[in-house]
Assembly symmetry: D2
Homo-oligomer: 133 residues x 4
């Protein structure tokens, strides 16, 4: 990955606090993983929907920003399919539409054993601002 | 608020890590706030969509769980209306539909000055499990 | 309403086939109604989700197009709150966000007796093309 | 397809008015097509979002009802990826989650040439009522 891009993603402090790690990232495609620990759980002892959403949103963001311009999420929809309470989760973002300045991504989140935990569709808006920090 | 409920919400470790505080909570209605700090920001320096989603989701959760049974999110949609980078944000969840076992909530997130930052609609599924921890 | 706008809305042949009628329309706000008949029902005898969506989408469209440029829906989320099988339904679209070129609307659909049947959030993209047909 | 199921789908009068035709249908999977004509167009001359939604919703409905119980849509999200103004459109519904009584489907709508026009995620609620009309 490009150094500027790497610095930009490293600057995502919320993603860092959540423990998200980029596994693979290129324009229009990305995979991000997270190792679940106690700080990710909700009151019922399951992985928090907010953590799952953050994982999907960051995964979309890395794929959309990899084109070199800052792209910001405008709308997202997430469906929680199965519960999980540990292990390493992995998100995969695939671009399903691009019609400047809007990008659409599907993101699926899987458990370690490949079970689909959540399905997310999100739209990002590409700004004129180049990534250069 | 009921003590069992309080313990249940306190047990939400992801909400705690995010710094979320319940302001008001009763069956079908809730307000939750968060004081923004650096750990909530994304790479572009704005409050992360994942933090906003978590705020809305937890707000919905407290309102829906206040009936006394564990209710889990099944689907949520969030639209990001305006960017923000600091201050105290407040979410308000209002129940707009209830058709057992499904609850529907609208959650709006406002900045300190009352600007609408995000609009969220979510659906929770009420389980048979009573809150008793 | 402006004549060009009126002609543009009259040219919406799907809205016409569905029997949708504009009650009030100005930039950022609109109300549209439909008198339910047999052709609007699904296999279970309830008003079809597709008709409810069309009502909400057209309502958003009239509010967003009333600014004078063609605005096209890019994403919509609808939650079905209560079933209905007849009478006159009314949709009301309220603009909740505008950040050029994206507009966000909330649309609620009510039964004749004021019961909330569906809640819709949609985003439209404003094109450069003026309404002039 | 089972006769009762066929009768149930034939009883969907809104789907019939829209010209929707089931191509293939089994529990958890369905394909539905529609031949676009003038009555499906919006004011700008494109296929109406309401028709696309109806196509996706009916496609989900046939897949979910094929299990033999009436399943009703509770929430749907649709993203419009590309515009279209004619030809035969085809929707394909794939079940991505099932956790009684909720079913989740992804539905993609394609143009005649295989271009992705819209992506839909919907959730249906399975009732106790058997299909028997």
């Amino acid at each position: 990955m490009d150094e500027k891009l790497q610095r930009y993603f490293n600057n995502d402090r919320f993603a860092a606090m959540c423990g998200l790690e980029i596994v693979e990232c290129r324009p229009g495609y990305s995979r991000v993983q997270v190792q679940i620990n106690d700080s990710h759980l909700n009151g019922a002892g399951y992985v928090h929907g907010g953590l799952l959403f953050t994982l999907a949103d960051f995964c979309l963001g890395t794929a959309a920003n990899a084109y070199g311009h800052i792209a910001l999420s405008v709308n997202s929809n997430i469906t929680f399919i199965a519960k999980s309470s540990g292990g390493t989760l992995i998100a995969e973002a695939v671009e399903i539409g691009r019609s400047n300045p809007l990008f659409t991504y599907d993101v699926n989140i899987f458990s370690e054993t490949g079970e689909l935990l959540a399905h997310f569709t999100g739209m990002a808006y590409k700004t004129q601002r180049e990534i250069d920090i």
